[in-house]
Amino acid sequence: MELALTDEQRMIQASAERFLTQVASSSAVRTAMSSERGYDTQTWRQIAKELYWPALAIPEAYGGLGLGFVEVCLLQEQLGRCLLPTPFFATCCLATPALLLSSNESLKERWLPLIAAGEISASVAYTSAPRWDDSGVQVYAQSHEGGYRLNGEYRYVIDGADCDLLIIAARTPGSIGEAGIRLFALPADTPGLLRQPQATLDQTRRLATITLNNVAVNDEHLLSEPGQGWPMLRDVLHIACIGLAGEQTGGAQQSLDITLKYIGEREQFGRRIASFQAIKHRCADLMLAIECSRSASYYAACIADQCLNIDGDPSTRQQLGEAAATAKIFASEGFFQCAAESIQLHGGVGFTWEYDPHLYFKRARASEQMLGTPAFHREQLAKQIFGERT
């Protein structure tokens, strides 16, 4: 039991911070978010091909560096601090875990080395409704000549318009709930698959709507074992929540840091506004929220790590759901609180487009929703606490 970063982890954290300070200034982020693709391809190429971030958690056998998900979360935290738009979250916290948890070797061998080499980005599409559990899976896979025909529409697909690989969930016609769900891995340019980028409230992360019109797939694309589609997807979503919680922690920290800087300089009534106790106490509450968010996300990252590791400890794996929910609850509420207070404590300038607090505020709101609200995750926990789930 040791919940402190190793020297190597601290090095990864520090070098990511250095790099991002150079490439992800506020103006760089603003240019990227209003560009056509929504991110700066040059910076992403550097991240993917020179810094090898997508390779971090991929085993060496698939061309990766063989480190773990804790390292991914540390990078997420740094990315969250600067809000740099990149396909990193979708590729490394959604699609990569889905591939890693699959037992379809030929798909893993086909796609993981490409991700590790920084050649492609990827995402996961599964929900057709404003819901984040199995009931959202409403794309249907009709058996057809030894394969399947997929029809339906995915909504809120993170970086879905731009990625190269899509992991998708579809269910057998007539099935409901957790049954009948299968996962497939498809090239994003598969015929019949129409991708529509959406304009989003949080401009630093793009969402897409994806329509499937008789898309032909077969068992070669099948990632999940029979009957294992939902359990696998559920684990992937939990792991993604943990990665997101890392990012939210970083966003919350930066919201507080820019606020502390501002209130340490701004004077009213002849003194720095940071010296008013009403303000100090609110900042103390923000620090409390951030440290809780960080503790929860670090702990959960250790569990995600065990789940993605073939030799992971089975009893630790069982904690994935509760750890992910806890991290997502605390990180979501902490980030929103910090970002909202950041606007308030900046006063009028906090309400301008020019100052950064609104960027964090919008990201906080988007991330709080994404993959399930705190209320949704508390309800999941309640089911477990009251022993309502087998």
């Binding site: 039991m1 040791e2 919940l3 402190a4 970063l5 190793t6 982890q9 804790v70 502390l260 340490g264 720095r272 940071a274 010296s275 106790q277 100090k280 106490h281 900042c283 103390a284 509450d285 620090m287 409390l288 440290e291 809780c292 960080r294 503790s295 929860a296 670090y298 702990y299 990252a301 250790c302 569990i303 400890d313 630790t316 509760e322 750890a323 929910a325 806890t326 609850i329 605390f330 209320a375 995750h377 508390r378 309800e379 926990l381 309640a382 606490i385 009251f386």
Partner: protein, 394 residues
């Protein structure tokens, strides 16, 4: 980072669990899950004897260094000990102030003679201690202490006069550590000293104060030329503030994990009631219970982070949140317990004012945000020490 325990640690866990199972029986069985917050006045004599049983098992001061008579357990083993103690329903520790606060302080700042004199009776469960800091005029502003100690050259002793207040368990204690002003005319944190004073003497009068729970866990303590030997000062005259503050630092140690297991026992009780009385079907209650449940997990993760890495005794910024985090969580649990019980929460266990365990919890948690530095004072500390914001006028 890793969150597993080694095989040796797991074996140690078995050992603790078996020890508890074997010893928390017979006359001690009534102590199971008792003596916690709001229940401190439960069976004090029996709980003191329990401390001696614990001491015979070498579980008092288990985390102290072997040279100091402790067991020298690793942090992981201490975590395990506290977890298993609470899981087994180990009662609230009468010896906590000695073992957790003044003992480590004497070990850090005392002379070898003082260590010889005071540590063994703490480790054997013989001596019980109370904390003489607060006074009527010195609560949050602790440096405003007025209690005086004058040196009596002839008798080579200190003569102490003044009044302490809110002194927990003073009526059950053998010794008190007293923060007193030894430099006449000094103000603020200068001129204070840290004295160890025997309670059983003519110069000391203990007057119980009834708490809102109806019971008397804390007291006023009046000093009228109370005596203590020149050898019973920790540090030098004038070092009192430094030592008093260091003592508060020891409160944020591993025992926090034991406290959390007690919280878990309380929460389990709330969950059990919710399942039987229908609150578990109420969507709002489900949300609140899940929030409490995940909040307790986070307290644990916070502590594990605080206890990881280099333990050089320095207070890392993230450790400043600890008191605010748990007190805020616990006060909410107290309210939740009442809300889950609904109208049943109004009915006492007996007349005239016998509280149920959860009523006592509800009432006592209101103290959690006060003692040991109120939440407002904690927020000042976080803002100033961890966030580097401007200091309050003092």
């Amino acid at each position: 980072m890793n969150i597993g325990f080694s095989a040796a640690d797991e074996q140690f866990r078995q050992q603790v669990a078996q020890w508890m199972q074997k010893h928390l029986t017979g006359e001690f069985a009534v102590l199971r899950f008792r003596g916690g917050p709001g229940d401190e006045d439960f069976a004090p004599e029996l709980r003191k004897r329990w401390e001696q049983v614990l001491a015979q098992g070498k579980w008092v001061g288990a985390g102290w260094a072997i040279e100091q008579g402790g067991r020298g357990l690793s942090i992981n083993q201490q975590v395990i000990f506290f977890e298993e103690y609470a899981r087994a329903g180990g009662p609230g520790r009468m010896g906590h102030i000695g073992e957790g606060l003044v003992g480590p302080t004497i070990a850090a700042f005392g002379t070898p003679e003082q260590q010889q004199r005071f540590l063994p009776p703490i480790l054997s469960g013989q001596d019980f201690w109370c904390q003489g800091y607060s006074e009527p005029g010195a609560g949050s502003d602790l440096a405003n202490i007025k209690t005086r100690a004058n040196f009596d050259e002839a008798g080579e002793q200190w003569l102490i006069s003044g009044q302490k207040v809110w002194t927990s368990l003073a009526h059950e204690s053998d010794w008190c550590f007293v923060l007193a002003r030894t430099e006449p005319g000094s103000v603020g944190h200068r001129g204070l000293s840290f004295l160890l004073v025997k309670m059983d003497q003519p110069g000391i009068r203990v007057q119980p104060i009834q708490q809102l729970t109806g019971t008397c866990e804390f007291n006023e303590v009046f000093f009228d030329q109370a005596r203590t030997s020149a050898h019973n000062m920790i540090g030098q005259p004038g070092d009192g503030w430094k030592i008093a503050m260091a003592l508060l630092g020891f409160e944020r140690g591993v025992s926090t994990l034991g406290q959390q297991m007690q919280f878990q026992n309380e929460l389990d009780e709330v969950v059990r009631i919710a399942k039987t009385n229908g609150a578990a079907q109420d969507p709002v209650m489900r949300q609140r219970i899940a929030q409490a449940w995940s909040g307790l997990r986070v307290l644990r993760y916070n502590s594990l982070r605080m206890l990881s890495g280099v333990q050089d005794g320095s207070l890392r910024p993230e450790a400043t949140i600890y008191k605010l985090a748990w007190s805020t969580w616990h006060v909410e649990l107290g309210k939740l317990a009442m809300d889950v019980l609904g109208p049943e929460a109004e009915l006492l266990a007996g007349a005239p004012y016998e509280l149920t365990r959860l009523q006592a919890l509800f009432l006592f948690t209101r103290a959690d945000t006060l003692y040991g530095g109120s939440n407002e004072i904690q927020r000042n500390i976080i803002a100033e020490r961890a966030l580097g914001m401007p200091r309050e006028p003092r």
